[in-house]
Point group: C2
Chain length 444, copies 2
């Protein structure tokens, strides 16, 4: 489980260089379309719906590990890895790589009008706002860039803060052809996206996510919105960006806990649908924890590919997309029980994943070896493997009773079933297993 050396875990660069001499866009795009390609960087997934059991079953077959022998480093600008999110006429590219904010063309090709509004926060602005403005304007003096700097944190993801974005857009006379750019983590992405969806009934939108969580989760799927005092993400829109630019250099300034939090989602993709990606993570977790740029670029790319494939099949979350919530039902109870902001989202998801895995094992759906592997990889990522001691069985039950996935009084859960990489979304399970898991992980 030790990390490979840095030079040997650079599959994304190897891919990008080899692909750049051909039609990279078309080539990579095809990987995300069904029937799944058997390309060396994409897992071939089998997705089936059992209408009798009302379950989605997602089963990823093994994907060969990449040949790293051609991944020599280069002094020329990084050729970004590319993930194309395939949503018909709302498809968009995700660019991933080191130093991408040093490549003005990448952003500028997606800015159509002459006005840009960068939405960021007080933490990110001192670090990356100037660089972003440079990337938007370098060699492009006709574009006018304004910015609005919001307070940082989930508690500001509300209507009052959102109005500051509208105020700035209107005061600076942004027109229908303007572009809103989200520079920051998930909160900024969600708020800026919803503002873009609503301003003049919809303007262009670009995301520059600066946290692992935003890069591997918010960057795909088009969910935007704000919180209401009575609940999270209750007001918003499905709205797709023009492009997402992931400059892995921004991870250099990310706090350790934030970094680990994002890895909880990365690990999730391996568990629910991508065996070879999970195996790659087992070999490379130390490199990820050491913030190895190439390892991160690969992990982000593979995560985005997995999510993009799921979202392409189920944009509005009717079933399959729910499998992306492995560990989230238990995790949401932890977040609510502790109060938002005590544990980071990924930390709660990590503990929730352990609980979902425990329950899957109690049901006899997975082997003990998989339980151990999940524990081990989460520990390597310095993520929690149990909920905080203050959580009680009743605290879990009360939050889970109002989960969005309750249908006709029955709580549906995402559970692992079968070999690594396979999961189900189901309400068809023995209630005693849930009871036993809750008692094993929390006070009565």
């Amino acid at each position: 489980m030790a990390a490979s050396s840095s030079s040997s875990l650079c599959p994304n660069r190897a891919l990008s260089i080899s692909a750049s001499s051909r039609n990279r866009h078309t080539q990579l795009t095809s990987l995300l379309r069904l029937p799944a390609s058997t390309s060396s960087i994409s897992s071939a997934s089998r997705i089936s719906f059992d209408s009798k059991k009302r379950n989605f079953a997602v089963r990823a077959s093994a994907a060969p590990v990449m040949d790293h022998s051609t991944s020599a480093s280069s002094s020329s600008p990084t050729v970004p890895s590319l993930v194309e999110v395939d949503l018909g006429n709302r498809s968009y590219p995700i660019y991933i790589g080191s130093g991408l904010l040093n490549q003005p063309d990448l952003l500028q090709r997606h800015v159509h009008g002459k006005q840009v509004l960068v939405v960021t926060n007080t933490t990110i602005a001192p670090l990356y706002l100037d660089k972003t403005i440079w990337a938007l304007t370098e060699g492009n003096p006709n574009v006018k860039v304004e910015s609005v700097i919001l307070p940082d944190g989930e508690k500001f993801k509300n209507m009052e803060t959102l109005m500051k974005v509208f105020d700035k857009a209107i005061e600076t006379r942004m027109d229908r052809r303007c572009t809103f750019v989200a520079l920051g983590g998930g909160v900024i992405g969600d708020m800026c996206g919803y503002a873009a969806a609503s301003y003049l009934r919809g303007v262009n939108f670009i995301q520059i996510p600066t946290t692992v969580m935003a890069q591997v989760d918010s960057s795909v799927g088009g969910k935007t919105g704000i919180n209401h005092p009575l609940g999270k993400n209750l007001i918003g829109a499905f709205y797709q960006p023009q492009c997402v630019l992931v400059d892995t250099d921004t991870l250099n300034t990310l706090p350790d806990r934030e970094l680990a939090s994002g890895l909880a989602e990365v690990i999730k993709y391996g568990l629910i649908r991508d065996t070879s990606f999970f195996e790659w993570q087992e070999k490379n977790m130390a490199a990820l924890m050491a913030r190895d740029q190439d390892a991160f670029a690969y992990a982000i790319k593979r995560s985005c590919e997995n999510k993009a494939e799921v979202v392409s099949l189920d944009e509005k979350e009717s079933g399959l997309r729910a499998t992306l919530n492995l560990g989230h039902t238990f995790g949401h109870a932890i977040e609510t029980g502790l109060g938002y902001g005590q544990w980071l989202h990924g930390e709660a998801v990590a503990a929730g994943t352990v609980m979902a895995v425990d329950m899957s094992y109690r049901l006899g759906w997975i082997d003990e070896s998989l339980v151990k592997r999940v524990h081990k990889i989460l520990q390597q990522a310095k993520l929690p493997t149990s909920p905080p001691e203050t959580m009680t069985v009743d605290m879990f039950k009360s939050v889970m009773a109002v989960d969005k996935k309750v249908a006709d009084g029955l709580l549906r859960l995402i559970l692992l079933k079968g070999p690594l990489g396979s999961c189900v979304f189901t309400g068809d399970y023995d209630r005693q297993a849930l009871e036993d898991t809750l008692r094993a992980f929390s006070k009565s």
Copy 2:
């Protein structure tokens, strides 16, 4: 120009009865699809785009007047007239007729979940809220109907009032399958529609417009939103309803000024694209002013058909749809100059239409006879034919300078050109004509 007798101006009922024995839905739907049908109730329009002049030209050919001889009255429930708005998988029907709120099936077939939130205002609630709740629940006891009553008026079309809708939806635990029903005029429709677009990232939406303006304008096109302190309709979404139900009985309680205001938009459709509809209005304006139900049902249906055809061709307002704004650029200047709420929207549009027609005549694009007909029909509708005396040339110019239709510094206008029923959207006109019109209708 006197009105025909009531029984002879009932083309919609004649149509509905004859169509009800066949597949009415399919039959009527086809009327709004291109190529334009030559059916007896639809005008066949020729729409062309002159790329050299950057103009859209819309020319409606004469449509035969309907044979009213079969329009016998009946004691059975009104078979509603139907207009299908053709927007692919977001298409929806508009039902039009007297007593439609007495037919629970019409609404209930478009409510999918078990929860409904009726959004209305303090003026409409005492008149039609109980009836609407009855129509939603009669024979359907499993549906839970909540309501939220907002203050009445354009000045409340803001974020603060919108939040009251979200508050109610969340407090009453509306889920993703709930339906929001807008019961009221344009302000209620716009706010409820935007709330439906945003709540849980989009829930079902039904419109029950109770003003002529909302019935002939807001009911087609999917524009929803709220005002910002710095401008009207700056925050919103394009969001289509499941259906629109126009019960013409609601016009019985509409104030005279509101009624006339809506007629300004009805007259507009005739002028820009529907010769025979304008001629019908000339014959039937007295009946409309007397609130003849059948005359109104026909006028509303024909207006919705015209708007639906334009919107189907240009949903996101890239050019053709702008022609629906005849008189609105001058009218907007009047509304802004006086302060919103002094003149009703349709009153300002009426005066603006006279100014656009005057300018078209100065350019030599239309005959003097058309100028006179426009004056006469607006006077019959008791609408203003000139702006208020306080308006100055500079007041017009300052508002028109920031109009959304300014492109590259050039103000584009909707002007009549050619025979009745033809218009252009163009920036290619003699500036002196605009100057002369402004001077003729306002103080220096």
